[in-house]
């Protein structure tokens, strides 16, 4: 088990190095220049040159890269010149809001998705199954931003049931969290359905029937746990994608998380903040995948044995 964790963390370090390097190159390859943004359109060449020197942007790319990696290793994520404070401070300040939104969306998606998937998978080809399958296909085929905008139009502007944007009350959470959760519900439901259907064909389910158990007893007592492993793995992966995808939803709903911070940082070529957000999300994804693996091992003793071997 410890070996598995160590292996996972080593892979995580590798992933984060990759993410750090990629984002380093991407921000610098993108058109635009932090100095001209900071100084405005009236700045002259000399002012820009001086600011480049201050920011270290006049040095060759590989030198900047080595300095940057060294700083990151020392947990120094650089200064945001736009905000005038350490970049990671600004990132961490916004992170809880994004996390709250992501966790709420995930909880909704897992509960609803599992329920739908179990109901559908209990009787494959039955009426519930057909309805659930139609609903999940519909949920997966609408783009997130479109669902968000439609939600605002309907519930906020027409029905006036929910606030269209901002934070403060639990009602503020409903539209952004649902927008993020809907496609996720579909993913969980479809996976849970196929996993449960497959499990219900296992010989040990016939054994359970031969013991006189009812179908609900078999579903909950034997099939559910064994069907969860692929679901947990996908939820782990999908949460990482959700953290990344939060950018769009947060901007639609003016949710004060990483999304608006990073959009602002990109627009202003605030390299340190963009890099900080990327590293934080890469770190979160690593942790999430580790947690998912540990959960799977908890669910299935055979995975524990493999991890120990």
């Amino acid at each position: 088990m410890i070996r598995m964790v160590v292996k996972r963390l080593l892979i995580g370090v590798f992933v984060m190095w990759g993410a750090a390097s990629l984002i380093f190159l991407i921000v610098r390859a993108a058109p635009g220049d932090p100095a001209s943004v900071l100084l405005g359109p009236d700045a002259d060449r000399e002012q820009i040159r001086q600011l480049h020197a201050t920011l270290g942007l006049d040095r060759p790319l590989h030198e900047q890269y080595v300095t940057y990696l060294g700083d990151v290793l020392r947990l120094d994520f650089g200064e945001s010149h736009r905000l005038g404070r350490p970049a990671m401070d600004a990132v961490l300040e916004r992170f809880p809001a994004t996390l709250e939104l992501t966790l709420t969306a995930t909880t909704v998606a897992v509960v609803a998705g599992l329920l739908l998937g179990l109901l559908a998978g209990a009787r494959p080809g039955g009426r519930t199954d057909r309805v659930v399958s139609a609903v999940t296909i519909a949920l997966q085929s609408f783009p997130t931003f479109w669902v968000g905008i439609m939600g605002v139009l309907l519930f906020a502007l027409t029905l006036r049931l929910l606030p269209s944007s901002g934070v403060g009350t639990p009602q503020h959470m409903v539209l952004p969290a649902l927008t993020m959760a809907l496609p996720f519900i579909a993913i969980v439901a479809r996976l849970a359905r196929s996993s449960v259907t497959e499990t219900m064909r296992e010989p040990y389910v016939v054994t359970a029937r031969s013991k006189g158990l009812t179908e609900p007893q078999i579903l909950l007592g034997h099939a559910l746990r064994n069907s969860l492993v692929p679901v947990v793995t996908i939820v782990g992966l999908q949460m990482g994608a959700l953290l990344g995808g939060a950018v769009i939803v947060e901007n639609v709903f003016a949710w004060p998380g990483l999304g608006s911070l990073v959009v602002d940082a990109v627009a202003n070529r605030d390299y340190a903040v963009v890099q900080g957000v990327t590293l934080l999300i890469a770190g979160a994804v690593t942790v999430l995948n580790l947690v998912a693996d540990l959960l799977c091992a908890q669910l299935d003793p055979r995975i524990r044995m493999e991890a120990a071997a």
């Binding site: 010989p203 040990y204 016939v206 031969s210 006189g212 009812t214 003793p301 044995m305």
Partner: protein, 341 residues
């Protein structure tokens, strides 16, 4: 009465129930969907399992042995249709409602499965699976635990207190089969359906598991339907045998007589193919040709393409099973000839 009290009362009534327990299978026919129309995988199967008796069900692979065992308990693959009668304690299990079937399953008729690793839930400890029926019958935790230890002990699993905490993958093949037997005994059944209980095991373990099944069957006065493609297994354990070919019963009767003096050419070929049963021949004669499958069942007698005695009549006329001697039935037009030779 509490559920636990009901369960104990049921246990007390078991001895009496076993006395009256015989399983009567009449004209059991099972069809399965198949590309190009439904296939009768079982066609008019009839036999009895008398109380406290072991009946061996033998036949080559694909002859319908597992289908027969499954049909008795209503555990058939999706899309199967069943006709005929499976009468158990005065009720036809084929037409009984789901609640009645659930009361019979595990508590009156229990299954021992062929592949113990597949038959056990990989994510549950052995003790939980063996104790599931007692637990659901409302026994307390301590009572369930005692019962599980007793069951594992009776199934010959050493150190049951420790082993009950193991997962199936931590057991050897032999221990797993013992666990499956313990699980089958957990509901105090009167009839065990054992589908190839030793096929997945190596030879020495096979012998021990067979001895265990035999001693359990004797000690508890159970009936047992022992499914096997291995004639040696059946000849060691069974009092009666039912020989199946292509989804039909070829021959049945007392095991010794059927195996010593077959009344059907197929049984004779089976016996001749096993060296240990026929000690007089030094070499076994393998069965010629490939077994007929229910999907491509030959006309007339399904055995005719492989039968050394086949005549014109065998190609056209299906031989009906008929009594050929005391307690013996054969589905061969020339059974008397076979018996006499």
């Amino acid at each position: 009465m509490t559920r636990a009290a009901t369960a104990r009362a049921a246990t007390a009534g078991d001895a009496a129930a076993r006395e009256a327990s015989a399983l009567t299978v009449t004209d059991l026919t099972v069809t399965l969907p198949h590309p190009g129309g439904r296939v009768r995988v079982l066609d008019g199967v009839s036999f009895d399992v008398p109380p406290a008796t072991t009946v061996g069900l033998i036949g080559e692979s694909g002859s319908g042995k597992s289908m027969t065992a499954g049909a008795l308990m209503g555990l058939l693959p999706e899309g199967a249709t069943t006709t005929g009668g499976v009468v158990w304690r005065g009720t036809d299990l084929l037409t009984a409602d789901a609640a009645h079937l659930r009361r019979v399953r595990g508590r009156q008729i229990a299954m021992v499965f062929q592949d113990p690793l597949a038959a056990l839930n990989p994510t549950q400890r052995i003790g939980r699976q063996v104790g599931e029926i007692p637990r659901r019958d409302g026994l307390s935790r301590a009572e369930v635990r005692r019962r599980v230890i007793d069951l594992l002990d009776r199934a010959g699993i050493p150190e049951p207190e420790r082993r009950m905490r193991a997962y199936p993958h931590e057991f050897s093949g032999g221990l797993r089969q013992r666990a499956v037997i313990a699980m089958a005994l957990s509901g105090n059944p009167s009839l065990l359906l054992a589908d190839e209980p030793t096929t997945a095991l190596d030879v020495t373990v096979q012998a021990r598991i067979l001895a265990l099944l035999r001693s359990v069957q004797r000690a508890e006065g159970l009936s047992m339907l022992l499914v096997s493609h291995d004639l040696r297994v059946v000849s060691h354990v069974a009092e009666r045998v039912v020989v199946m070919y292509a989804g039909r019963v070829a021959e049945q009767g007392p095991a010794r007589e059927v195996l010593r003096r077959p009344a059907h050419p197929y049984t004779r070929a089976l016996v001749a193919s096993v060296p240990a049963v026929r000690t007089r021949t030094a070499l076994a004669d393998p069965l010629p040709g490939a077994p007929a499958t229910p999907a491509a069942r030959p006309s007339g007698c399904p055995f005719h393409p492989r039968c050394p005695l086949a005549r014109e009549r065998c190609r056209t006329e299906v031989p009906a099973p008929r009594a050929v001697a005391d307690g013996r039935r054969s589905a061969c037009h020339f059974a008397e000839e076979v018996l006499g030779s």
